[in-house]
Symmetry: C2
Subunit: 251 residues, 2 copies
């Protein structure tokens, strides 16, 4: 069943109704071809889902009656994982955002490091971010997330490091050293984890030394080389698996 | 450093040399632009890597001197995971093959089920398989695998089920039921695991009932919906993580 994110101000609790606007109207009318009495799911992005019935379709809005509301089940409860990625080339970013969202990422932090090949000026970065936010929103709808992950503005190396204090644990994926993911997670109860992955060329030794001095731990993802877009997905899947967010109780 | 898979008959142990032929010659000469004295890595696909120096480049072959040989480190040692996937649309298959190889899959088993949308006649299936094998070979080279995963010919539902007896454990990803991955793996020491994922439309209840009667266990990958191409990658990453193949000791 199709699912739409809405803002709190679109909900009228008194009349138990809600109103959809903008792109969603087009999608419901022309893509899903739903009509009056059609049923859809809406999510307020802060933990509540609504099952609603379409009552009235006009040019610019669709009014629905709320049939029932219930807690969103798509959000990780025990740990929040942010994926920081040094910009890889081409559409790999799209994959990371889409699959990272399916796998429960709470936020994405694109940044540049010594070996980042992609150059984005401020204007391009702004446009790219709009596009990234659309990708994340759509993935959040499809994967039944309870909220839309945040996509931070593109940061440079220094700005990325300045984020460290916001996290209980920082894992820096480094091909030439580091501990296994299991060793880094075992016995730790982090409420927030920042996973940092490099561009195609990886990170330099200086960068690894610097992040360790700032409180990060070096993470080694095994004997096989994972591509820039694969590493963050493997990491977040295993972290959530360990915290029992991929179904089941925590390990 | 570029890495090439070779056959045993390309190696001359007596003279400690090996010969590269075919597409690899073109790649070395024209893509990597290596010359005499250039160093490359070769892998025999059955556990040994060779560090070699180019001695002679001709039109159709390149002869190299073996400098040293050592065990391939890129293969999982404790468990072999095969990914069986009901054909998804478009290039999602490429993604599953490439990233599945990076994550250590030992084989891929494409099949069709009730809700598979993609139709491939025998001729198309043959061509597609050739392409898939090239993708897997390239991914195995890049990710430093010790062997190239097998890509089985396209199977139908019945043929897929007939494979079950070859595996210690069969995990059937099913959205509407099943246990968490951790519950299915804990305390079990499987040498071979078959992970089965559905097409975009998922599996039917009849299919789920049938595989259980044939010895499979239903796997539920958590509260978020994972796309057809994401599910197998999350599963194999977590399985190898559990078996200590993603770096570190087994859980």
């Amino acid at each position: 069943m199709q699912r739409y994110f809405i803002e709190a101000n679109q909900i009228d609790v008194a009349t138990q109704s809600l109103t959809l606007t903008g792109d969603d109207v087009h999608h419901i009318k022309n893509v899903m071809r739903l009509e009056v009495e059609g049923i859809i799911l809406c999510c307020d992005g802060v933990g509540t889902d609504y099952r609603v019935m379409i009552e009235q379709i006009s040019g610019k809005e669709i009014r629905c009656r709320i049939l029932e509301s219930f807690s969103s089940t798509g959000e990780p409860e025990r740990v929040e994982v942010t994926i920081a990625f040094s910009l890889p080339k081409g559409d790999k970013v799209d994959w990371v955002l889409q699959k990272g969202t399916e796998l429960g990422a709470s936020a994405f932090l694109p940044f540049t490091s010594a070996r980042t090949v992609v150059k984005l000026d401020e204007k391009k970065a702004g446009k790219r971010r709009d596009r990234w936010q659309r990708i994340v929103k759509e993935a959040a709808e499809q994967s039944r997330r309870g909220r839309i992950p945040t996509v931070h503005s593109l940061m440079n190396w220094r700005q990325c490091l300045a984020q460290f204090s916001s996290y209980d644990q920082i894992l820096f994926a480094y091909e030439r050293g580091g501990k296994a993911l299991y060793q880094l997670l075992t016995g730790r109860k982090a409420r927030s984890i920042l996973v940092i992955v490099g561009p195609e060329g990886g990170f330099t030794e200086d960068e690894a030394t610097e992040v360790v001095s700032e409180g990060a731990e070096l993470l080694h993802l095994g004997p096989r080389i994972l591509r820039a877009e694969t590493a963050p997905l493997a990491a977040i899947a295993c972290i959530h698996y360990t915290y029992g967010e991929l179904g089941g109780e925590p390990l």
